[in-house]
C-alpha cells in the first residue's frame, strides 16, 4: 500500500532531511513513526502525501509512484490518503459540521448528500452533539476529532497523522489514539508520527519505525 525505496530528501537550505529510508506499510496496518524532533518524521509523511518529491529513491502509494505521477493525479491520490495535523488546521469561522462539509464540498460531493454524510462522520468520531460548535468552543481533543472526521470525508484507505496528540492532555490523547485504533480495525492503514516515547512504549503491540537523523534506525517488524 505504501512503499519507500531508498528515499533521500535534501532541501536547498537545511540540507539532508532523509537518507536512504526504505519501509513498507501494508493494507490495514498500524505503525508509529517515531524519533526526536528533526529526525525526518514530517518529511516522510509529506512524501507519502506527495506534498514534496524525493531527491533520490521512490515513494509508491497504491498505484501512484513518485517518479511517474502526473500533476493532475495528485488530488485523486490525496483523497485516498487522509492527513491529520498537530495543530488541527480547522477553519475558525466555520462550525465543526461546516469544517467537515467544506472537505466534502471541495471534492465535489453532491449538495444533497453532504448533510447526511457530515452527521455520520461526526457520529463516527463521537462528536455529533458538538456539530454546531466552532473550533474555539471545543477542547483540544474535540478539535482533533473534528480534524479526523474531515480527513475521513474522502473515505481514505490510509490515514497519516503528524503528532496528532502533541497538543493534547493524556486523556484526550488516549481518546484520539483509540479513535485511530477503531478506524484501523475498520480497515484503514494508519501511520502516526510522534516523538512521545512514553506514549509509544505504552502500546508495544504497534509496529514502530524509528527515525534518527534522517535514517531509519529501527523497524520493530523487521
Amino acid at each position: 500500500m505504501i512503499s519507500l525505496r531508498g528515499v533521500s530528501k535534501a532541501y536547498p537550505r537545511s540540507g539532508d532531511a532523509l537518507r536512504g529510508v526504505s519501509f513498507r506499510l501494508r493494507k490495514g496496518e498500524f505503525a508509529f513513526l517515531t524519533g526526536p524532533s528533526g529526525a525526518g518524521k514530517s518529511t516522510v509523511l509529506e512524501l507519502i502525501h506527495f506534498q514534496t518529491r524525493p531527491t533520490e529513491g521512490e515513494v509508491q502509494v497504491s498505484r501512484y509512484n513518485s517518479r511517474r505521477v502526473r500533476r493532475r493525479d495528485i488530488p485523486a491520490l490525496r483523497r485516498r490518503v487522509g492527513f491529520v495535523f498537530q495543530d488541527f488546521k480547522l477553519l475558525e469561522r466555520l462550525t465543526a459540521a461546516e469544517n467537515v462539509a467544506f472537505a466534502l464540498e471541495v471534492i465535489g460531493t453532491p449538495r444533497r448528500e453532504i448533510a447526511g454524510r457530515v452527521q455520520r462522520l461526526l457520529s463516527q468520531v463521537g462528536l455529533a452533539a458538538r456539530a454546531r460548535s466552532r473550533p474555539s468552543e471545543l477542547s483540544g481533543g474535540e478539535r482533533q476529532r473534528v480534524a479526523v472526521a474531515r480527513a475521513l470525508a474522502t473515505e481514505p484507505r490510509i490515514l497519516l497523522a503528524d503528532e496528532p496528540t502533541g497538543n493534547l492532555d493524556p486523556d484526550a490523547a488516549g481518546g484520539v489514539f483509540e479513535l485511530f485504533r477503531m478506524l484501523n480495525r475498520l480497515g484503514t492503514a494508519v501511520l502516526m508520527a510522534t516523538h512521545d516515547a512514553d506514549f509509544v512504549r505504552r502500546h508495544p503491540d504497534v509496529r514502530r519505525l524509528e527515525l534518527e537523523d534522517g535514517r531509519l534506525a529501527r523497524d520493530s517488524a523487521a
Binding site: H49, P75, A76, L77, L91, V106, I107
Partner: protein
C-alpha cells in the same frame, strides 16, 4: 457558478482592497485611455496628410495619347498605387486660373498654354513610405515622355518620421501603463490568495483539483480588470466631455472608435485574467509539484 460565488465572496471579504485595486487599475488605464484618445487623433491627422501624398509626373508636350494611355494602365497596375489621375494641359490652365487668382491677368492674356499635362499618383495606405514614394517617382520619371517627377521628398520623410515616433511612443506608453495595471492586479490576487491561505491549504490536503482552487481567483482577476477597464472608459469619456481640448491643428478631438473602446475593456479583462493566472500559478500551483 461556484467560482463566481467564491469570486464575489472574495470581493465581499476584502472590499477596501478590491476597491483600491479596481481604482488603481482604472487610473492606470485612464492614462492609457487619454493617451489613446490623443494618439487616435494624431494618427487621424497624420493619416489625412498622408492621404494627400502625391507623386506628380509632368509630361512633355509631344507625348502621344496612345503612349499616355498605356503608361496610365501600367501605373494603375502597380501594387503601391491607389489611383492615377491624368490632368491635361487645358485642365492645368483652368486650375491655375481658378486657384491662383492673383495671376489671373497673366493667365488670361496667354496665347499659348505653357503648363504641362501631368499624372497624379496616390499611394495605398501602408505604401506611403519615403522609399516607396521615391521608387514610384523613379518609375514615373523613367518614361521617356515624362519630363520630371516630383513628390516633396523632404516633407514625406518628416511625415513618416513623425508617424514612426508617434507609434513608438504609443507602444511604449501603452505597454508601460498596461504593465502597471498587470502588477496591480497581480498584487491584489496575491493578497487575496494569502488572505485565504488556510482554506487553500486545506483544499489541497483533502484533494481538491487545481482548477477548483484556481478558478475563483482567475475570475476575480478578470472581474478586477474588467471593472478597472470600465472605470477607465467612464473617466476618459467624462474628461472628453467636460474638457474639450483643441490639439494643434485639430479643431476638436474625435472620440475613440467603438472597436477601440470595446477592445480596450476586453483587453483589461484579459490582462486581469493573465495577471491572476501568474499569481495563482506561483502561489497555488507549487503545492502540486512539477507537472
Amino acid at each position: 457558478m461556484r467560482s463566481m460565488r467564491e469570486a464575489l465572496a472574495g470581493f465581499r471579504r476584502t472590499p477596501l482592497l478590491c476597491a483600491l485595486s479596481i481604482g488603481a487599475t482604472g487610473l492606470s488605464l485612464v492614462i492609457l485611455g487619454l493617451f489613446g484618445l490623443v494618439a487616435h487623433n494624431i494618427g487621424g491627422a497624420i493619416g489625412d496628410v498622408e492621404r494627400r501624398v502625391e507623386v506628380v509626373g509632368y509630361l512633355l508636350d509631344d507625348a502621344g495619347p496612345e503612349q499616355v494611355r498605356a503608361a496610365r494602365r501600367e501605373m494603375e497596375a502597380l501594387p503601391a498605387v491607389e489611383s492615377v489621375r491624368y490632368v491635361s494641359k487645358d485642365e492645368a490652365l483652368e486650375r491655375a486660373r481658378r486657384d491662383l487668382v492673383e495671376f489671373s491677368d497673366i493667365y488670361g492674356e496667354l496665347r499659348v498654354n505653357p503648363l504641362p499635362a501631368s499624372f497624379h499618383l496616390r499611394l495605398r495606405e501602408g505604401f506611403r513610405t519615403p522609399a516607396t514614394v521615391s521608387e514610384t517617382a523613379g518609375m514615373l520619371a523613367a518614361y521617356p515622355f515624362i519630363e520630371e517627377a516630383r513628390f516633396g521628398d523632404e516633407w514625406v520623410e518628416r511625415l513618416f518620421a513623425l508617424r514612426s515616433a508617434a507609434t513608438g511612443i504609443a507602444l511604449a506608453l501603452g505597454g508601460g501603463f498596461a504593465l502597471i495595471a498587470v502588477l496591480l492586479i497581480v498584487t491584489t490576487v496575491r493578497m487575496a490568495i494569502l488572505a485565504r491561505g488556510e482554506e487553500i491549504e486545506i483544499m489541497q490536503i483533502v484533494g481538491a483539483r487545481e482548477g477548483y482552487i484556481q478558478r475563483p481567483f482567475l475570475l476575480e482577476g478578470a472581474v478586477t480588470g474588467l471593472a478597472g477597464g470600465l472605470l477607465a472608459l467612464g473617466v476618459t469619456r467624462l474628461a472628453y466631455v467636460v474638457f474639450p481640448v483643441r490639439f494643434a491643428a485639430i479643431e476638436s478631438l474625435a472620440w475613440l472608435p467603438h472597436l477601440w473602446t470595446a477592445a480596450g475593456v476586453a483587453a483589461a479583462a484579459v490582462l486581469g485574467l493573465l495577471a491572476a493566472a501568474y499569481s495563482v500559478h506561483r502561489e497555488v500551483g507549487r503545492a502540486y509539484g512539477p507537472s
